[in-house]
């Protein structure tokens, strides 16, 4: 039972803690799990989250930065005032919980459709696009010399990697070929500035409260690169959850996003943002293909995974809307 290990862990590093209660798994694949639990304390319970790779699952997939790096980035973000949970403890061998970290639990909603529909968030919604611009500006300003070691990825390299991933699927898709051609023809080359890139900043990976963005989650695809990548990815149509006329996560306009980013003292390059939006749309399409392949060949023979394979066509229509729009 995980509560026994967690209890032994928290009493060692949380002053006054007497144990834990209410541990429940929130999500988990074979290699990574997220648990919620409360730290018992004389002053009242403290909400916490465990993110870990269970024992025997130390190796991270190639693109992922790894949980230790994720913990460092979240803590840096928290210290710099970027909405982020405070990291309370990085797991050690003594914890006997695998690798990972424990962080503060932040109340709020991550389910995109609820954020876009529920009355509770009605007052926050009109401000979110602009606010996200400000949050991304803060994230892109984190000092490079304080960052942990991260892979560097520019536009040219990403095109090649996605082409390789796509070709390895042996899944000939004329629309994807068209997108790859377009990306090569519009490759903006190295960015003027290299910054931290979150890599998966989108509606669904943010904790939102009635007051707006409370935390940025899922830092596992963080890398060094073109900051415009994050602005493009947050606009990918699949993350608008049906609100297709509001490109920024279904919340608002690109102009609002750009205004928030610029108000925080950073510059936007709209052509690069468009490049990364096309790239992001293709990226999600290729990821859907990867899901199909893992469903066929891998241990995860789930219906959900199979159906994600059938979502590749949504990226094809979105790529056509971007690259070959029909008259209005």
């Amino acid at each position: 039972m995980i509560e026994a290990e967690l209890s032994r862990s928290v009493v060692r590093w949380y002053p006054g803690a007497t144990g834990v209660t209410g541990a429940a798994k929130l999500s988990g694949g074979a290699s990574q799990e997220t648990w919620r639990f409360d730290i018992m304390h004389p002053n009242g319970p403290i909400g916490a989250i465990l993110r870990r790779s269970p024992k025997g699952y130390g190796a991270a997939p190639t693109r992922a930065a790894g949980l230790a790096v994720e913990a460092q980035l979240m803590q840096l973000a928290f210290e710099a005032g970027v909405p982020s949970p405070r990291v309370m403890h990085v797991l050690t061998a003594e914890d006997d919980l695998g690798t990972g970290f424990i962080m503060q639990r932040i109340d709020g909603e991550t389910i995109a459709r609820k954020i876009l529909r529920d009355d509770m968030f009605a007052a926050a919604r009109p401000h979110l696009a602009r606010q996200i611009g400000g949050v991304l500006a803060g994230l892109h300003r984190l000092p490079l010399d304080k960052l942990p070691e991260l892979r560097g990825r520019g536009a040219t390299q990403e095109i090649s990697e996605f082409e390789r991933d796509y070709r390895s699927l042996d899944w000939p898709k004329p629309v994807f070929e068209l997108a790859l051609r377009w990306l090569r023809d519009h490759d903006p080359g190295p960015s003027v500035e290299t910054t931290l890139v979150h890599g998966d900043f989108r509606n669904g990976n943010l904790i939102i409260g009635p007051d707006g963005v409370r935390a940025v989650l899922d830092w596992e695809l963080a890398h060094l690169g073109d900051p415009m990548e994050d602005l493009g990815w947050v606009c990918v149509n699949s993350w608008r959850f049906g609100e297709i006329d509001k490109p920024v996560g279904g919340f608002g306009t690109r102009e609002e996003l750009f205004a928030g980013y610029e108000a925080a003292g950073r510059e936007v390059d709209p052509a690069r943002v468009k490049f990364w939006e096309v790239m992001g749309t293709l990226r999600w399409g290729i990821m859907c293909g990867g899901m199909m392949q893992r469903f066929r060949e891998g241990p995860d023979h789930s219906m959900e995974r199979a159906m994600i394979g059938r979502r590749a066509s949504e990226t094809e229509i979105d790529l056509l809307r971007l690259l070959a729009p029909r008259g209005s």
Binding site: I244, M307, E314, R326
Partner: protein
């Protein structure tokens, strides 16, 4: 020739049973999984109804576009190769129309409620 009911009718009867009789009895994660299962059966039903017609139209367009004959898979592979080599692009007459028609037919099976699809369907193209 196989007997009837057809696969379309059989699949639809299972989906209707799960939706009407079973879904109200189940909650939580199992209810989510059941919804996915019903969605799969609905997708299969749509594909069984539409695939023959849409594949035939797609092959027709591909033969005209490429000037060669083959199965729908072979012709798609050939088109993908020609786009990759730069031989065919958006200035090629008929390419954009073909890709739009093919993609719309896929969405009609995969996700007829996807907002981009509904918007494009409204264009009547």
């Amino acid at each position: 020739m196989q007997d009837e009911p057809t696969p379309i009718e059989l699949t639809k009867s299972v989906a209707d049973f799960l939706r009407t009789d079973i879904a109200p009895l189940i909650s939580g994660h199992q209810a989510f999984k059941l919804r996915v299962a019903i969605n799969i059966l609905d997708l299969v039903t749509r594909q069984l109804m539409q695939e023959e017609g849409s594949d035939a139209a797609e092959v027709e367009r591909l033969r005209a576009l490429l000037g060669i004959d083959g199965s729908v898979t072979e012709l798609n592979r050939a088109l993908a190769d020609r786009i990759a080599s730069g031989e065919v692009d958006l200035t090629t007459p008929g390419l954009a129309e073909h890709l739009w028609a093919t993609t719309m037919d896929k969405l009609a099976v995969d996700q007829p409620n996807y907002a981009s699809y509904k918007r494009e369907q409204g264009r009547g193209g």
